[in-house]
Symmetry: C2
Subunit: 724 residues, 2 copies
């Protein structure tokens, strides 16, 4: 970004002029962007893009954590390879290694069931329910009660919305509790795996290249949605038929060029663009570095365990990948923000808010001092930050067995309550998800590794300062009668792992039906430990609910000030609802004397292809690369384009999002952000934040020349250039 003008190529200068296009806009806001969009090359009417159930937005769907799109009238879905990875893994066996070899269903009958819990969500409506959620909540209501009432109203709305069946509804908060929208989605439950390339294409570069540019990953995969013969969502059944969507995207037959407009509809998960200076500093000072340290330690521990053999390695694969992914993201944020620029940006914003309030006494009375109020909430939260991290590690991510026991105990606690009073995850409508989670956990349970991870977390727990101790744990360790912390932990773990059957799936399934009394009567040591930790977790939930209620008072005030400063042109933080972002195909300058071009090539794949994981391009690709049909060759590149960069503004959840050109044709799939742009969850720096896309030209070339997925190409109305 400090590269000199003299070494910039013309296209890079153009890109620098274009800069990034900040904002994950609500579709309803797109018409407001009409002038810029038209200037950038948008040929579609922006008003049309605001129609969520029309063409093309109606073709864009959610898979839960990923975005996807229909690409044929027969329910064919394209998304990222890493979004269908779980389904590939689910169908893989040592004898039939679909991960390594890829999978292509020869006929519809050969399509495989997607992994349990793979649902397709088609947004069918959005409705403003702010009045229902917030109405009549007088200012004097105590914070915890405020949060409870809002939660309850949301649940009531959701239940009413879902009553007809076959739908999934959700009340989403926008602008930090200023606006509540009810989103209705068709929930398709029979989803099948159609096609995924070999890992050496779909995950080429693996962890080494993750978050990185230049990238050479063919990160695409195909599913198909099935419904009952009557066209209704249905449980998986051989009688089901392909879903016929109203709209589907057309894949472009011409690739993008540097400077081209591209846009992305998708379901970005979570951003923190409206957190204050104090909140950002907290995340940078404690939350992120503490997680990085813990993840690094847990990864090292599991990798040591992996030396015990292949089975251990397989069990720990997902955990390590999960820790590493989040850790690398946080490291990127910390690195990019170590100069204090993030806090400086917030401080500047807060100075502007202060100036605004100083100039408008009436507004000042109405809003109070939201910055100071948020600082107070943050201080309250930080007072137990180390304990809360240890608690999370204990009950959620440091030990699969203890987190399972915690879930089972919570389920038993919540079951006797009326459904509307239960915590969200334990409501009837989420029971099957919960049971799928219990089943899914099985592949990550390996008692030795579990114990090693938990040992480390207990080591952190005994280091907690006074005032943040977990008494229930302290008592249990003391009860071992041993002298040192280390000995106490070992003795406690001996008992814990000798006396539990939570490693057995059938036992956990049985436990999931039991009451607290029945669970307690089992005398299972892991369940007993979860039970001992339950009161402290409950106390923390109550505190968090109070904080949430307070935030519902304060954050909308902060946002109202920002709305004023932005003249109403403000996009909300991401919240897993459908958003629109646009930008241009553009490289960037990651550091002094280095320039990144916006497109990579097949020649670059061959440069990296050592044959060893993660650069294990399959032989079929190497063979196909020898002669490229002109239809896939980019003349400027002299090769097949593979991945490209754009200035679009995305985050996790956008994975698999279609990337469209100005005519609304699919030119790629978003699959990652760049390393230098990791900080973008907090701040969008147009000089360096980039979205990484797999190029539809590469997808077509691989389908045609490498994997011979000719039937699918034809189904999408695409030419097959080499059919022999």
């Amino acid at each position: 970004m400090k590269l000199v003008p003299t070494v910039l190529c013309a296209s890079m200068l153009a890109a620098a002029a274009a800069r990034g296009e900040e904002g994950m806009w609500m579709p309803a806001q797109i018409p407001d962007l009409a002038p810029e969009l038209a200037a950038a090359g948008m040929e579609l009417d922006p008003a049309r893009l605001a129609d969520l159930t029309g063409d093309p937005m109606g073709a864009v769907i959610s898979l839960g954590g990923c975005t996807a799109s229909f690409v044929s009238p027969e329910g064919l879905i394209v998304t990222n390879h890493h979004c269908v990875y779980g389904s590939v893994q689910f169908n893989s066996t040592p004898e039939r290694d679909l991960i390594q070899n890829g999978f292509l269903a020869a006929t519809r009958a050969d399509e495989l069931p997607a992994a349990p819990g793979s649902y397709v969500y088609v947004t069918t409506g959005i409705r403003d329910v702010s009045a229902e959620v917030l109405g009549g909540l007088e200012p004097g209501v105590e914070d915890a009660e405020r949060a409870r009432r809002v939660e309850r109203r949301e649940r009531e709305l959701v239940d009413a919305c879902e009553a007809p069946g076959g739908r999934r509804c959700r009340v989403a908060s926008f602008y930090e509790g200023s606006l509540f929208l009810e989103v209705t989605q068709l929930e398709i439950r029979d989803v099948r795996l159609v096609y995924a390339s070999a890992e050496g294409i779909g995950n080429f570069g693996g962890e080494t290249d993750n978050w990185m540019w230049p990238r050479h990953t063919g990160d695409f995969g195909f599913l198909r949605a099935y419904v009952s013969p009557g066209g209704q969502p249905a449980d998986p059944s051989p009688d089901n038929v392909p879903y016929r969507p109203e709209h589907w995207l057309k894949v472009a037959t011409k690739g993008v060029q540097p400077g081209d407009l591209v846009w992305i509809p998708g379901y970005p998960g979570r951003t923190y663009r409206y957190r204050t200076e104090v909140e950002v500093a907290s995340a940078r000072e404690f939350t992120m570095p503490a997680y990085v340290r813990l993840a690094k330690d847990l990864i090292a521990i599991l990798e040591r365990e992996n030396q015990r053999g292949k089975a251990v390695e397989i069990a720990n694969y997902g955990r390590i990948r999960g820790y590493a992914n989040a850790m690398k993201k946080y490291e990127g944020i910390l690195l990019a923000s170590r100069d204090g620029s993030l806090e400086a940006q917030r401080a500047e914003r807060e100075r502007r808010i202060a100036a605004l309030l100083a100039s408008d006494p009436a507004l000042a009375v109405e809003l109070g001092d939201p910055v100071a109020a948020l600082a107070a909430l943050d201080a309250e939260k930080r007072s137990t930050e180390r304990r809360d991290q240890v608690l999370d590690a204990l009950t959620r991510f440091g030990s699969v067995m203890l987190s399972q026991a915690t879930t089972l105990w919570r389920l038993a606690e919540e079951r006797p309550k009326p459904d509307l009073d239960r915590e969200d995850a334990y409501r009837d409508r989420d029971r099957s998800r919960l049971m799928q989670g219990i089943a899914r956990a099985q592949r990550s349970i390996e008692a030795g590794s579990d114990r090693a991870g938990l040992r480390h977390v207990l080591g952190l727990a005994v280091e907690l300062p006074a005032g943040q101790r977990i008494a229930a744990l302290d008592e249990r360790l003391a009860a071992t009668g041993k002298a040192t912390d280390g000995e106490r932990i070992e003795a406690f773990l001996d008992g814990l792992y000798a006396g539990t059957r939570t490693a057995e799936l059938e036992v956990r399934r049985a436990m999931a039906k039991e009451s607290t009394e029945q669970l307690a009567a089992r005398g299972d040591s892991m369940i007993d430990f979860a039970r001992a930790l339950a009161p402290v977790a409950a106390e923390r939930r109550a505190r968090d609910r109070a904080l949430e209620g307070a935030a519902l008072r304060v954050r909308p005030a902060y946002m109202k000030a920002l709305q004023k400063l932005a003249n109403g042109r403000l996009y909300p933080d991401a919240n897993s609802t459908l958003r629109f972002t646009w930008g241009k195909v553009s490289g960037y300058q990651p550091r002094d004397a280095v320039a990144y071009a916006p497109r990579t090539t097949l020649a670059g794949v061959l440069e990296k292809a050592t044959g060893e994981e993660p650069f294990h391009a399959p032989a079929a690709l190497l063979a196909a690369a020898r002669t490229i049909p002109p239809g896939y060759l980019d003349p400027a590149l002299g090769s097949v384009p593979v991945d490209f960069l754009s200035t679009c503004d995305i985050t996790g959840g956008n994975s698999g999002s279609p990337t469209l050109n100005g005519r609304g044709e699919l030119v790629g799939l978003a699959f990652d952000g760049n390393w230098e742009g990791m900080v973008s969850d907090y701040r969008f720096d147009p000089d360096v934040v980039r979205t990484i896309h797999v190029d539809a030209v590469y997808m077509r070339w691989v389908m045609d020349e490498v994997d011979r997925a000719h039937g699918l190409l034809r189904e999408m109305g695409l030419p097959v250039l080499t059919d022999n």
Copy 2:
């Protein structure tokens, strides 16, 4: 290198057109290059550059392993920081950490003695002695005898040349034994350390950035040469006075720009451009990967030992750095040549030789089949490659104590011989060097680490295949009476390290005066082991001498064919004699979608400056960076230029070489090659081979603004822009 035209900036396209300028030419060849040089912007008369003792070539000097140049009439010398590092280290104490803090002599009297063995060599003459060396060597002479006679003639010439005293002479072989030149050099023995920046400037980036671009290292340092009041070389003495060179370089006050011509005079050490396909394949198949494996293991072993404490770490620092440097170089070569392009290039060359010989029967009769003959020599050499590697590791680099014992034993073996019959390193003229080596070894001796390294090498020795076993070692291990190899090695090492005093410098100094009988009578276990290994080493030397004699027959034939193919325009492989290379300031494209600009900036230093080693820029630099006097600011960069790239063709030994512009002004110092260009010792790929230089503008800025070396700037006739 596969970047697309559309993303290239104008200056990069210009650079691509310029390409690299292959060749480390002998100064006498420079006039032949006149047309290209003039076209590229050389303003000096090429004939003038061929004058070794004129201006500017007479200012270029050798420091042994590095190149340097006089930059004032008072004997001031500029070279790389890493070339004066040993002297900085030598004068450093825990109380006065010159490495960390840098050093600047306030007055001449404050200049510090350079490390023992730091000599300055000023070339004063070159004379063709081919006739004396090769004359009357009839073809029938047996190979070993041929090598012996050539060696002896070289020694006689050297002795005659050095007779007047104060000179160092050498007979160097060019074109693989086709041409022999006697080089006479003034040897200045009183050399003092004048100035070296803090390590956070001079070695900024350290091992992390070593071989890498973008680079931000201020790799410069200053020495001064002293002679007797009568102007003769003399041992260090307070009575000595600064040497007054006939010529010294002027430092430019204007920096380079992309596309500018630059040229480098210097002393490149060793290249292998004329090795055959078979020889290159041997290096790639065995020599380099075997060294990489061994170095990696030894580094890991020493790093484990380092955990025992700071003293161990200091002792192992030099060894680890040495292994890592060579290892990284080999890894770079292996990576760049894994596609077989190196062998392909040689195969193509050898096809052209075959075609030439097929077309010229007389030449074919004269030259025979040099390619086949060299292949036979290579096969002979490979027959003991594993044993030879282990032998080298035992006697030279795997254990400092055993290599010292080996040297001492060899010295005793050679001493009784007439001086002319001794191996070069053991001749009287090299005695003080040898004693300095014994003294220098002391800082790397740490018995625990030494044993750990030797244990690993012995582990390799017991794995040697039949036919390559080292019997003397096998017998000693068997004599321990233990059952397994592991137990035998431990038992042997127990005795070896309990029974030796070779870790003591004074003991080794005493041993260096003793005969083989006296040494043997000591009963020192390490000396005894060296003595046991001596016969196998001697046998290997005899075999190597025979191979060398054969090469003296065969290689000149191969070179003669190449000379014919090149129409006589062929540069010789590097051999530590003064050479000339030229090129242009130019970036490159290291891989798909990545472009490197040819210059880095002070802004880039700040980007990297984390404060932690090796990115520990000193506070004075950070402070000075806040306001830059316009005289040091490059308008195009908007910052101070730090390092730059050129297409010049250099190798190890060129470190510290002055980089000159077309007017002969010093614009920088060469200090490294780039990672992608590592293969250049074997093949010069103009697309990616680059020399890395520190920019004289950065040197001047650091001297002026950071270290306030104003006296030195004035001594060089340079302006001081900020003197307050």
